[in-house]
């Protein structure tokens, strides 16, 4: 759509101006060849990694595998019918809760930390580095760290809770907690990166604007919500989008921490796709592809919402 309107605009501009541009409508074969050549790498990459797999996923989603994992039978819409079961509904629900938790906690938390860190006080550099450090962890490594932190036999977290008189829940084996625990490990990883981005956004807020607000008599909270927040909205929007995508793709942390348990209470969408396709000798490529298409649709819908609705409120300077 963009390209079309651009070309139309260019043509309009061309016809409005003098003659020379009209000649440009006839491209020499060499130019066409060059144009095509320049497109080849992009088209080849897109074709190999996006378009071909997409069509293959659509094809596979109508197939059933034999016992050796060959997608040899057509099963029609059977795999899609399996998407309308309570089991898959639960998977979507877990994914939703997980994503909401990670996005809300993983954005608000770093924001709350970034505001005091942006103050020019001594020692803040050290704290900023410390809080950003989890960013260097992979999700799987962070999961192992948190598993140890919450291990029922030697958990320092449980010990600390006991000191203040709270009995710790069974973090990874109790139903609602397991999902929160996995989400928390994810928050821990994304928070570092988000802090970095939000911190950079805060550093870019113009002192003059803040001073103007102060002179106008705005209180601290008022300054934050009416001046600072709009000014860092591009950074906030960016971390919301990346955090959403990261949490939608959660796989390693679920595998390491709970393997989908207890009784499927931490099965998220990507975990379910991977599990159906590759784990335990399941080889249900058809069902996995159908679920993959659901993930694609979820991704598109979220992108449309985020860019169509939320971004309108984003203030780019």
């Amino acid at each position: 759509m963009t390209t079309n309107s651009l070309t139309a605009a260019a043509q309009a501009a061309a016809s409005a101006s003098a003659r020379p541009p009209r000649r440009r409508q006839h491209y020499s074969p060499r130019e066409i060849l060059l144009g095509v050549l320049f497109c080849v790498p992009a088209v080849a990459g897109l074709g190999t990694f996006v378009i071909f797999p997409l069509f293959q996923a659509i094809f596979l989603s109508t197939r059933g595998t034999d016992i050796n994992g060959n997608p040899s039978r057509s099963v029609g819409m059977d795999n899609f019918a399996q998407l309308f079961t309570p089991e898959f509904g639960e998977v979507l629900m877990h994914t939703l809760v997980f994503t909401l938790f990670v996005v809300v906690v993983g954005v608000v938390g770093p924001l709350a930390l970034a505001v005091p860190l942006a103050q020019r006080l001594p020692g803040m550099r050290v704290f900023r580095t410390l809080f950003t450090l989890p960013f260097a962890y992979s999700a799987s490594a962070a999961s192992v760290v948190w598993l140890l932190m919450l291990d029922p036999s030697m958990s320092p977290v449980n010990w600390a809770l006991r000191v203040i008189g709270i009995t710790a829940p069974e973090w990874t084996v109790q139903s609602p907690w397991a999902l929160i625990t996995v989400a928390w490990a994810t928050v821990w990883v994304v928070a570092g990166f988000n802090l970095l981005v939000i911190g950079a956004g805060l550093a870019g807020v113009d002192e003059d604007v803040l001073e103007a607000a102060r002179i106008d008599g705005a209180s601290g909270p008022r300054t934050f919500f009416s001046v600072v927040l709009p000014m860092i909205s591009p950074s906030l929007f960016f971390v919301i989008v990346t955090t959403t995508l990261t949490s939608l793709q959660a796989l390693g942390q679920v595998q390491v921490m709970t393997d989908g348990g207890p009784n499927g209470a931490t099965r998220t969408l990507v975990f379910s796709i991977f599990n159906n396709a590759f784990e335990n000798g399941n080889n249900e490529y058809g069902l996995a592809s159908a679920q993959g298409l659901v993930l694609l649709i979820v991704g598109i819908v979220l992108a449309v919402i985020q860019f169509g609705v939320i971004e309108r409120r984003v203030h780019y300077r």
Binding site: V50, D66, I67, G69, V173, Y285
Partner: protein, 469 residues
């Protein structure tokens, strides 16, 4: 506006890429299954003559010390067969991963030899991608009488020995001897029934100054449920555990399992059993760190437990007992777990023969003595247990004598052979889901067991339908 749209496409591309990396990987779905297993006569030893050095690949699932021991054995084989056969070993991760890798591989990508766990047996036969070991046994007039009959029984289907057992383990009851002594219990008489376990756990809990937190703690591992049913002499699949016909359904919602699940729930409710998940690593840590006084695990974990117990915050000594019975009157015995070696059919008789030479080497008495003493797996060779080096090892590890007695005391029938069904790995996972539902989510026992039965039966029906179509 232009910026926004372009960014929009960028995000779309990211979302698509996210979705597609997941589904796109399924392009690894292979094509071209194995050619027919066939009963054609296996190639004799002459086929290797004049072929130069034959290269074969061997996939296995032995990590840590066990993997090192296997590597050493294969190196020994390579040295003995210099210029004739060279084996490349490839560690594929856990058993489940090795099975998944085999299923995900195309016929060309498959190895010449693979170590497959017990419950993968029926699938391997159904896959028609293997050469039954029996055909080599027949050609070579290979003497199989040295193999422990209970072990050979597991891998004999339709009167054919399909694979050569290699590493064999049984489940045992492990106890913390000091915790028993402090509670006034006899550590030489570990509990043998569920009631006994509960009674002992209560005594341990009531002991003042006890550092152990729970009397009992076992991983919610589907394998144990299979064992309890075998000990109760009850087949868990129809058609005599799939041994006299193709199994079509499981029988899990039985009084035995209801009693077992209810007992386990009670143990947790009363604070006598630790809440664990289905990851055996966590269960193993709970025992070797001294958190629980009684645990269930395979004989293969003995070495790790003894080492862990000595290094625990409150060091203790490890004792062993028979796998417990659900009812004192139970007459069966545990199933022989572990894995066996499968020769794959890739249409190259030279490689098949070379793989068989390696299988013979690994199953030999000498190799089994080395294997047993360096890993703690049960030797498949009867002769290995009479070997002086082996006898000395056993005398140093009195806990292992329990395993030998338990194996020799187990009668061989359909129940103690375990269920032979192609979807056994999935059935085990469903049982684990049921255990998690009952123990961790507090679901009603009958409801949990019915759920397991339905889910498992659906998987088996799907599998059998795939075989037909």
């Amino acid at each position: 506006m232009r910026m926004t749209v372009r960014r929009g496409f960028g995000a779309l591309a990211i979302a698509m890429a996210a979705a597609l990396t997941a589904v796109g990987c399924s392009s690894a779905a292979n094509s071209g299954g194995g050619t027919s297993g066939g009963d054609a006569a296996a190639p004799g030893p002459d086929v290797l003559n004049g072929k130069g050095q034959v290269e074969i690949t061997f996939w296995h699932a032995m990590g840590g010390t066990n993997g090192e021991a296997l590597q050493k054995l294969v190196e020994q084989f390579n040295n003995q067969n210099k210029g004739k056969i060279h084996v490349t070993v490839n560690y594929k991760g856990k058993y489940d991963d090795a099975l998944a890798a085999y299923k995900n591989a195309s016929a060309q990508q498959r190895p010449d030899l693979i170590q497959m766990y017990d419950i993968g047996t029926r699938y391997m036969i159904d896959s028609k991608s293997v050469v039954p070991v029996q055909s080599f046994v027949d050609v070579d007039k290979y003497d199989v009488s040295d193999i422990q009959p209970n072990i050979a029984g597991y891998y004999t289907v339709d009167k054919k020995l399909y694979s050569l057992p290699f590493n064999t383990s049984m489940p045992l009851m492990y106890i913390n001897r000091e915790a028993f002594q402090k509670a006034g219990l006899d550590p030489d008489k570990p509990p043998t029934t569920l009631e006994d376990i509960m009674a002992d756990a209560k005594k341990i809990k009531a002991t003042s100054g006890e550092t152990v937190k729970f009397g009992f703690g076992a991983t919610l591992y589907g394998w144990f449920v299979e064992q309890w049913n075998a000990v109760a002499d009850q087949p868990i699949c129809d058609a005599d555990n799939g041994r006299t016909g193709r199994a079509s359904k499981v029988m899990l919602n039985t009084p035995t399992n209801q009693k077992l699940f209810t007992w386990w729930q009670d143990m947790i409710k009363q604070g006598l059993a630790m809440k664990l998940d289905s990851n055996t690593d966590n269960g193993d840590n709970a025992f070797s760190s001294g958190t629980v006084a009684m645990a269930l695990e395979s004989t293969g974990s003995l070495g790790g437990f003894v080492k862990g117990a000595a290094e625990a915050a409150h060091p203790f000594t490890v004792g062993t007992g028979y796998f417990p019975k659900v009812d004192a009157a139970n007459t069966g015995g545990p199933i022989i777990g572990g894995a066996s070696l499968w020769i794959t059919n890739r249409g190259d008789q030279v490689k098949e023969r070379a793989a068989w030479e390696l299988v013979k080497f690994l199953g030999s008495k000498e190799s089994q003595v080395t294997w047993h003493t360096s890993t703690g797996y049960f030797p498949i060779s009867k002769g290995a247990l009479d070997d002086p080096a082996d006898k000395q090892w056993v005398s140093q590890k009195p806990q292992f004598a329990t395993a030998i007695k338990q194996l020799q005391g187990t009668k061989l029938d359909f129940a103690t052979q375990g269920c032979s069904v192609g979807e056994m790995p999935s059935v085990r996972k469903e049982v684990e889901n049921g255990l998690q539902a009952a123990m961790l989510q507090g679901k009603d026992v009958t409801e949990a067991l019915t759920g397991v039965e339905n889910a498992a039966n659906k998987k088996i029906a799907d599998y059998n339908a795939k075989l037909g179509g």
